[in-house]
Each structure stands twice: as structure tokens, then as C-alpha cells.
Symmetry: C2
Subunit: 344 residues, 2 copies
Amino acid sequence: MSKGNKMPNGTDKMVAKRVAEDLGVSISTVSRAFSPTAVIARETRDRVLARAKELGYQPNPFAQSLITQRSRIAGIIVSDITNPFYPEVLTGMTEALQNEGLNVMLFAGTSARGADDMVPLALRYRPDVIVVMAATISSRAAVEAAEAGTRVIFFNRYVPGIAALSVTCDNVLGGRQVADHLIDLGHRHLAFVAGLLDATTSVERWRGFSERCAERGLPAPLKEDAGVFSHDTGYAAALRLLSLKDRPDAIFCANDILALGALDAMASLGLQVPRDLSVVGFDDISMATWPSYSLTTYRQPVRRMIAATIELTRQIITGDGEPPQSRCIAGHLVERNTTRKRHE
Amino acid sequence: MSKGNKMPNGTDKMVAKRVAEDLGVSISTVSRAFSPTAVIARETRDRVLARAKELGYQPNPFAQSLITQRSRIAGIIVSDITNPFYPEVLTGMTEALQNEGLNVMLFAGTSARGADDMVPLALRYRPDVIVVMAATISSRAAVEAAEAGTRVIFFNRYVPGIAALSVTCDNVLGGRQVADHLIDLGHRHLAFVAGLLDATTSVERWRGFSERCAERGLPAPLKEDAGVFSHDTGYAAALRLLSLKDRPDAIFCANDILALGALDAMASLGLQVPRDLSVVGFDDISMATWPSYSLTTYRQPVRRMIAATIELTRQIITGDGEPPQSRCIAGHLVERNTTRKRHE
DNA sequence: GTGAAAGCGCTAACAT
DNA sequence: ATGTTAGCGCTTTCAC
């Protein structure tokens, strides 16, 4: 009677020891076969690996982590996933991390338990890195993690005044380029629809936008706060702007979801892009390409941002080479509704 | 000189032993303090927990899993996350699992590595359960997992001919109700836009739809294959239907994304809902509510489906009570564009 | 190149 | 109610 090495379904649990016995080698040899850097005869490794596959053996990552002090886990913290931008990023990021040999542990912040509360949860697994994609997270998170010896990368989010890493799109530049685009189109009466008030994305896009307007001799653009990044709030904010006596002739929305809401608000008033007004978004989510919207937008360089995150992760893990540094990457304007024919 | 119990940042690593020494108790006592069921003096537990918090100690889940043989991990496998339905579900599911004390390990299938290849990856962590939200996964996945002693729950997907668990919306019923709705509206010339050919969601919705049409004495609806579930393909499929000589007067799309594409196709032809045609989707994603679309759709009971998944998970983990059984839950029709005023 | 032995951090008998 | 002890499954010196 073997002692307790049975599975719930009655079959024997497959562990290194059993593979070793099966092959008449030591446990160490089995272990070494799975370690690419270990010294082991090529032929032995092949034999072990082949038999292990047959038997369905794979090293237990818990035991591995315990001894190697490396989890090979990346924590990802998300919150407002209502913005379609994030799912797109989440999939890409997960894939990329998997390719680096990191498994992703996902933590979803809720209204009840904010993204901040996810950090201690994630920290228990001593992840090699934590990627934060939540819009509403305090700097406390990064501090806690730092104390636990885990580095945090803020994705698409900059946390001011803290030694945290971030990977962002160049929001200021984006705002400036949108300003140039609209001004070049002949617009002189610009407006901005802001999203979450304390989101750096919104703040910086506004800064670039308004700065550039000033530089080009325009009066300060109108600024309308949507409150949160959503279709509803974008719709409402646009309605407010459009009901003004001195209605703007171009609206730059802090992100695409807001912009789509704005377009729908315009449609509800019978206004057309680009005939009556220009609208520009930010992100370039897939819906921006839909014919019904054909939204001109500033595309975030998602692939490069993910690649940068992976690069930082690699630097964090190896610990050698240059110390990882925050990255800010330029995107580019994608013109669509300049020749838009919607509602005709 | 202590031997190796330093963190990368120089501070001592916080383990049960250190907390125990600090308090002058045994390691077991520390361990017991963290186990809700363990016998320990209330006062001792409070003392340990308080000090542990101060010191920043949390039990190492790897060590725990190693000994308890329970990972407290749920694996989630996703693939085509382009459908906004899934992100919404993913967040909700993650939250719900977290509330059960399960941490979520996310595996994203790619074009290169399909969802099937994610199963072995997930199995290494001996998850308490695997939830599959990928549209394209073979039954092999469930078999592999079963052999490893892990149960798989297919979410919104039924895998025929296999002893796997699934949680689905009642797609057949949904199809029937949509048929009734359209017929009651006076339509007699119905069409269906199918998504992924082998997706049970598409197949079953079609079955219910066509069955009900037959029952109510209508000719078989037209069937147009979109190929995949996307806006583009829905758009194209609708265009094909609308260019027919005997153009249908109502279109039921296998899901909302297809339906939104169909609506845009109609708009491009200057056709209006509900004046010229009725369109019905399936899922009720957030975009269906947008004023520009106001899509009538069959709402999947997502909350209840997640609750059912959690219930199954609980049954799987405890192992007692009734054996877990697949669940099929009715949704309901949400009427919107029956009074739609778009493009006016 | 391979085996023996120590131990990662923890829980669960078993003692007391 | 608490302490002692034996591993969970693995990697990694250290011998050979």
C-alpha cells in the first residue's frame, strides 16, 4: 500500500520520483532533464523527457517556486475593463508574458474591493512583476509592492512622484498632434471632453492639446468633463457642448469610448461628421473602424507598449544590464471621418 | 550572518518562522492562526494575526499548496476575446472566483497556440477547476484535464459527447423566442446570420429559431454564414441578404457583434430599423444599448451563469453533496429597436 | 555525468 | 491549547 500518492481518481500521482524509478535514474537526473542549463548527457535528457511525456509528468511549479524563489508568475491588475481598449491589451499582454515563460495571475478590482486591495493579494504569489492596468490606483500600491520586493509596471498610466515604472503612450504629444490636425482642417473653435478627472491619460492629453492651441494662437479650447470614460458620459458631454450658443466646430475626446458617445449625440441632433463638426478620439479601439463611426483617432502603439513592458519585465527579472526605465511611446493619428459619409 | 533569508532589497524575508520567533511561539501556532478551522486560543490568534500584519507576513501559497494538495487556483482559458461579451464575463467571473478564495490564472489562446494548448499549461498548476471561455476548443481539452484529475467547465459552450461540465444560456429557447418575437411583429420572411460554423452557440440558436418558424407554419428561414463572429462579417452577411431579390424582412443574428455589423450594413443602404426591417441579436453586450444601435437582443443571463459556474466550482471542490451537473439557463428578450429612430 | 542529501516554507498528524 | 516532527515535490550543492 503506497502512502497517499494517489489522485482523487485513483491513478497514481505523477511526480519526479516515479519517473526516476521508472527509468532507473535518480530524481536529480529527472530534474536536470527539465532544466535547460543543467549539465546532463543529451541522450539521458531525451530519454527522460520522452518518458515523462508518456507518463504525463510535468514538474510541479509550486515546488519549483519554493526552492528557486522565483514564481514565474506575472500579476495583472485590472479594474474598469468596460473600456474595450483594455481587453485588447489584456489578451496581447497575456500572450506576450506567456511567451516569456510567465504565467498570468489576474486580479480584477471591483467597486467594493478597489484595485489597491488587489496588490496584497497579488503579492502573496511573489510575482516576478505586477502590471497594473487599472485607471484608479493609488501610488500606495507601488510602495507596498516595493516593500515586498516586487516591481510594478503601470500600463497606460503614470503615477506621479513615485519610483514606479510605467509604460505609456505619449499623451502630450498625442494631444498636440490632434490640435494640429484640427487646426489644419480649419477649425478655430475647439473643445475637449475630459474623462476621469484624475486620470493622467485625460490630464496629459488635455495639456498637449491646449498647449498646442495656445502655440498656434488659438483661444483656449472649451473643456467639458465627462466624469468617467464611457459612452453615456461622452454622449452627455457632447450634448452639453453642442447646446452652447458658441458651439465648438471640433471636439477632441479623451478616449474613443467618449468619442463614440459624442458621435451618437451628434447623430441624435442630426449633425454630421465632417460636414458640421470634426470629432477625434484617442486609443483606436476596434469599434473606431466600424463604418458607422469611422472615427478619426490617435492610435496608441499597443504592440510597442506591450513589447516595452516585456522588455522591462525581462530587465527586472534578470537584474543585469541597464536598470529598467519608464517608457513613453509615440502613437499616431489615424484619419477616418475626415471624409466620413455617415447618415447620408 | 543569517543564511540566505534576505530579500533582493536587503530586508529579511518574512516567513512564519520569523513571526514565531518574534512572538515566542512555535511555527505551528503561526500557521494555526491563519487557518480558520484550526484549534487555537482566540487571544493567541489575534496576537499572531496582528503582529503578522505589522511585519507584513502572509503565508506562502506555494508552500501551502504543496502540502495541502490544493492550489486554490482557477484556470481561465480564453481565446477570441474580440467579442465584447467575454471581457464582461471575464471580469465578473474573476471577481466571483476571488470571492470564493480562488485566484485566477489566465491563459490566452492565440492563433499560433490554440486554446487547446493552454490546457497542459494550466494543468501544471493543478487548478481546482478550469473554466473555458474559448469558442474554439476541442473535447480533447476536457479529456486531458480529466486524466490529470481537474474538472473543466465550459462557459457558454457545450461540447457534445463528452463528460464535461458546461454552463450555457438556453440557446435553443432563445432562438425560439426570437422567432416568436419576429413573427408576432408580423414578419414572414426571416433570415438568420450564423457565426462560427461549429460553434454550438450558433448551431443551437439556429435550431431553436428554425424549429419555431416551422411550428408556426412559416417557410424555413434563410441562412447566411458569416464565418466568424465579427462586425465585418456581420456587415458582409447582411449585405448579401439585403441584395437578394426576395430580401428578408427580419434578420436574426447569432450574436450582437454580427447584429451591429448588420445594422451598419443596413444604414449604408439607407435602410432603417424598424421601418424597413427588424434585426435581433444575441448576448446583450453594452453596445447594444447605445442609442445609435438600440439593438433588440436576447440577453444572456450572465450573472446567473457566473453564479452557476461558482456553484459547480464549489461542488467540485468540496466533493460532497450532489455531483455537479451541467447547467442551461434561460435568458430573455430585450426589446429596443422596435421603436428605433436612428438616422432620422 | 550522475546520485545523495539538504532544505525551500508550510501544514498536519502526533505528542504533551 | 501549544510544540515537535515529518514530509509536500522539487532544485541544488556536494561527492563521486
